[in-house]
Subunit: 353 residues, 2 copies
Amino acid sequence: MKYTIALLAGDGIGPEVINEAVKVSDAIAKKFNHEIIWTPALTGACAIDAVGVPYPDETHEICMKADAVLFGAVGHPKFDNDPSAPVRPEQGLLLMRKKLGLFANVRPTFTFPSLIDNSPLKRERIEGTDLVFLRELTGGIYFGEKGRLDGGETAYDTCTYTRVEVQRLAKKGFELAMTRTKKLCCVDKANVLETSRLWRETVQAMEKDYPEVTVSYEFVDAVAMRLVQWPNSYDVLITENLFGDILTDEASVISGSMGLMPSASVGEHTSLYEPIHGSYPQATGLNIANPLATILSAAMMFEDAFGLKEEAATIRAAVNKSLEQGIITEDLATKDAKTYKTSEVGDWLVANL
Amino acid sequence: MKYTIALLAGDGIGPEVINEAVKVSDAIAKKFNHEIIWTPALTGACAIDAVGVPYPDETHEICMKADAVLFGAVGHPKFDNDPSAPVRPEQGLLLMRKKLGLFANVRPTFTFPSLIDNSPLKRERIEGTDLVFLRELTGGIYFGEKGRLDGGETAYDTCTYTRVEVQRLAKKGFELAMTRTKKLCCVDKANVLETSRLWRETVQAMEKDYPEVTVSYEFVDAVAMRLVQWPNSYDVLITENLFGDILTDEASVISGSMGLMPSASVGEHTSLYEPIHGSYPQATGLNIANPLATILSAAMMFEDAFGLKEEAATIRAAVNKSLEQGIITEDLATKDAKTYKTSEVGDWLVANL
Ligand SMILES: CC(C)[C@H](C(=O)O)[C@@H](O)C(=O)O
Ligand SMILES: CC(C)[C@H](C(=O)O)[C@@H](O)C(=O)O
């Protein structure tokens, strides 16, 4: 088969980790007789520098025409100190999510046996952790009306959700739960927020369509606690945009393998795959960034966007083998273990697929 | 001196833990020649049962007349499954905060050396943790306009902040930082929210009045991560209501001493002291709940509301001694350590002040 993949490398270490994912993907394609056409496009700070906006129309066209999008990371320190600057990389991210209709962000958190001791949490608390957050990504307070009143003295943000928005996200949650241990947790703040009450009543009404799924409803503050206490008690969690932003980042730390966690954003027009980490400007150009999160994101792409399970499994098996054999970048090294460069890890994987 | 303290025991284990705090407070008063007048009042589920509302006017009058409020916990399972029920204990809590003008919730997280291994986090990650959250408590999305549109199909919540609201909270943050290690972290989501940008610009403008304080600005998602990674890197954190709700609960788990953490809510008219834990309905009447969080809340009250440092220190010293000597309730017990009843812990403290 032939696949067109939009390649949005972005800023910082983005191009370096994307490069390794391309190498590994090409090797997989060759092995399984597929053809991949990569269509690179600008996004983030580099797009602002080049054309003045973080998500150019041309990039959007390229994404819409592709079978999937592989994304690196965006962000540059020159934009960091002024969150009210008129043009910023994050705006491109939000615009891209909205225009591509990527309403569900899929963020798995799982443990790698060989890395479990990297976690800040004790081994017995995290062993067996294998959870997935489905974060709503194109609604809520991120996209509601916001502004100033009283000559700038009062600020407001509006969180809005429609039943349809909740249903389409929850549907993905129920479906995902059906492929796993059939446990779904709806995370909300229904004791305070009207939008949360809409979430809860909508999910409750859908329960009858998935009689095998056990659904729990937990408040966001309680989940923030239990995630640290017993992450392995969760399976699939669904939640709104802002809660998802906070909780998925919290969860990412738990497994001790934050630099390895992939993610997908899926929805109406296409799907996008990206590592959960940022653009780590300090490491730019040093060939030290860990490419595995991006490579595992490519594996998610093969499996979920193209339905190529074996190809995905082959990538994951090679990644596991590389970890077991200590072919690791410096972020994963304990004590004076030998470490490898970004490109060396990619090369090793290509040679060991 | 003579102090009038409004006593809001609330629901579940509330009355049991409050009872021990009263015993210890009375013993301290006797030792230091103070007089305490306790004025009990209803709040929570028990107030709904008795008079139909969770925060009766009479209770409010009693709180307004008192020098401070000591609070147990509210909540009853019969209200749990229906967050849209017309009358619920939480509404009383929010109304009380608003009417008493308790705009700053002070939530310390610190470690007890003898309990450090109870933490889900590894010892080396949490040793030395001693941070305080100041959570804004009477504004934001909790109190903004909310409702339904389109015949119930769309829900919305509004988050609003004024510069004055931010200033008064931030002022307490700067002042608190001055009494500690002079590090202040402002937690926001200024890359997305207009209210966060108001927070950030307001705090930035105040920096010049506290030249000795080092201020950092971090996004809420990043703090949710770093709290689990390196909680001991924080000192004072200030944040808005909803972020504070989530992050203070997350932080409470870190020290492994969640059942021991006190809190204060301060502001315009009075101050209120309460354990951070809830009403644990399952333990009601069993005399097994840990009274230490409430007793340490009483210590905060002596120190902060009445300026009685030595009295507070005496309570804390006795609590530390009780922990060292293993006079603990069953929640703190590891393996087959001997445990004590709620009232026995209180009795021991009274005898050992
Ligand atoms: C950069 C920021 C706008 C973004 C978000 O809040 O969604 C990021 O934190 C993320 O989670 O992808
Ligand atoms: C019960 C609930 C309304 C309350 C809150 O969200 O403020 C609680 O979680 C708290 O933190 O005191």
